[in-house]
Amino acid sequence: MIEKQVPNLADAIDGIRSGATILVSGFGEAGSPVELLEALLDTDVKELTIVANNAGSGNRGLASLLREGRVRKIICSYPRSKGSVWFERRYLANEVALEVVPQGTLSERIRAAGAGIGGFFTTTGIGTDLAAGKETRMIEGREYLLEMPLFGDVALIKAQRADRWGNLVYHAAGRNYGPTMAAAAALTVAQVNEIVPLGSIDPETVVTPGILVDRVIKITAAKT
């Protein structure tokens, strides 16, 4: 029997170690696994490398890990968001390193990791400061940059609905990085709003197949 549902947040994040690279879904707060991130505060993990679109805002989720000094480095596309107070404070104090990556390149690097692709060529970033030190190649008369895959030790993602095999369905644009990150980490944990009986998700509508998901945790308490 395959049972991916775990009973509590502690089990959901069990085994995550200090120094880990964690892929975190979300575009702003949409699709962000806030409760899984905050569960890390109840452990002693630190020195984390976070891969995400943004660098957290307000006081919850990713921002709480920054506030508590658990993050060593952030790889993201847009850290300068309204309310990114804790990132700004840690970054300006040289307590957190930053790697800025164009958003589509960030997403595709994660996809490459999950799809067994050893790198890819893109025109994104050509002629800019972000091309510094990268291999280029002329393809069909256009200049391209070589970008490398970006793996995670762990992916923490959020979806709307799951079954016990870990099949996932998302809600609206909360989907964002979830499907890509699920494939790119050694351990993928999904927090969901609802767990339904096996067979009740129409196979035509499954977005992330359960073979990419290791653990599923149902979050009951509403986000405040």
């Binding site: 575009f27 707060e29 596309s77 589509g104 998302y170 609206a172 644009a173 989907r175 979830g178």
Partner: protein
């Protein structure tokens, strides 16, 4: 969203009574978009376009976070945490909309499947270069999807104030800020005038009422001209 929509545009000091507001400019820009186009609307003022467009038009607005078919801004009572635009403002979707995940959303962008991207900018040069992600001295650099859009879509139009808060022209001969992309901008929609980027520099397509080409040229440090003139 109000902080984005109610910004008053910079004015040409002491000359023109008023340029277009963000909403007026968004409506003017929307009038130049063809029915059936799929158009990415970037962070900031461009997001207003989907709010002001005539609902009878069938333009498909794309938001980088995986929404194809963005509608007007959402009323307070109808906000969904998972329905936001590039600026993280609450939006609605139109009939016929679709969601995709992030990697597919950028495959649409990079694969040339979008007809147009409308973005803001700090500087636009007469050779079509533009800069919109990092001003030297900025504490925190942030690129977002701008470089992917700039290189991937069929057309790049810039929507911005012509002058920055210090009154400095954002049109320039060459960008001094770090580039977002080289040679990609085709049109520039500003509060005071609309420009086309040609192989011979900026061509003025439209001036707001009461503003002459000569007057504008005095404040812009790069040659601007009417089509057919030299």
């Amino acid at each position: 969203m109000s902080s984005q929509t109610e910004d008053s545009f910079a004015r040409l000091p002491g000359t023109v009574p008023g340029g277009r507001t963000a909403r007026q400019l968004a409506a003017r820009l929307a009038a130049d978009i063809a029915d059936g186009w799929c158009v990415n609307i970037g962070i900031g003022k461009p997001t207003v376009i989907a709010d002001v467009v005539d609902p009878s038009r069938e333009i498909i607005f794309h938001s980088e976070n995986g929404i194809i078919g963005v509608g007007p801004f959402a009323e307070d009572s109808a906000q969904d945490d998972d329905l936001i635009n590039a600026s993280k403002g609450f939006i609605t979707i139109v009939s016929g909309a679709a969601f995709v995940h992030h990697t597919d959303s950028f495959a649409l962008i990079r694969g040339g499947h979008l007809d147009l991207a409308v973005m803001g900018a700090f500087q636009v040069a007469e050779n079509g270069d533009f800069a919109n992600w990092n001003i030297p001295g900025t504490k925190i650099p942030a690129v977002g999807g701008a470089m992917d859009l700039a290189n991937g879509v069929k057309r790049v139009w810039i929507m911005m104030d012509l002058f920055d808060r210090a009154g400095v022209s954002k049109l320039c001969e060459r960008c001094s800020y770090p580039l977002t992309a080289r040679g990609v901008v085709q049109r520039v929609y500003t509060d005071l005038a609309i420009f086309e980027v040609s192989t011979d520099g900026f061509i003025v397509r439209e001036l707001v009422e009461g503003l002459s080409l000569e007057e504008l040229q005095r404040h812009v440090p790069v040659k601007i001209r009417l089509e057919g003139s030299v």
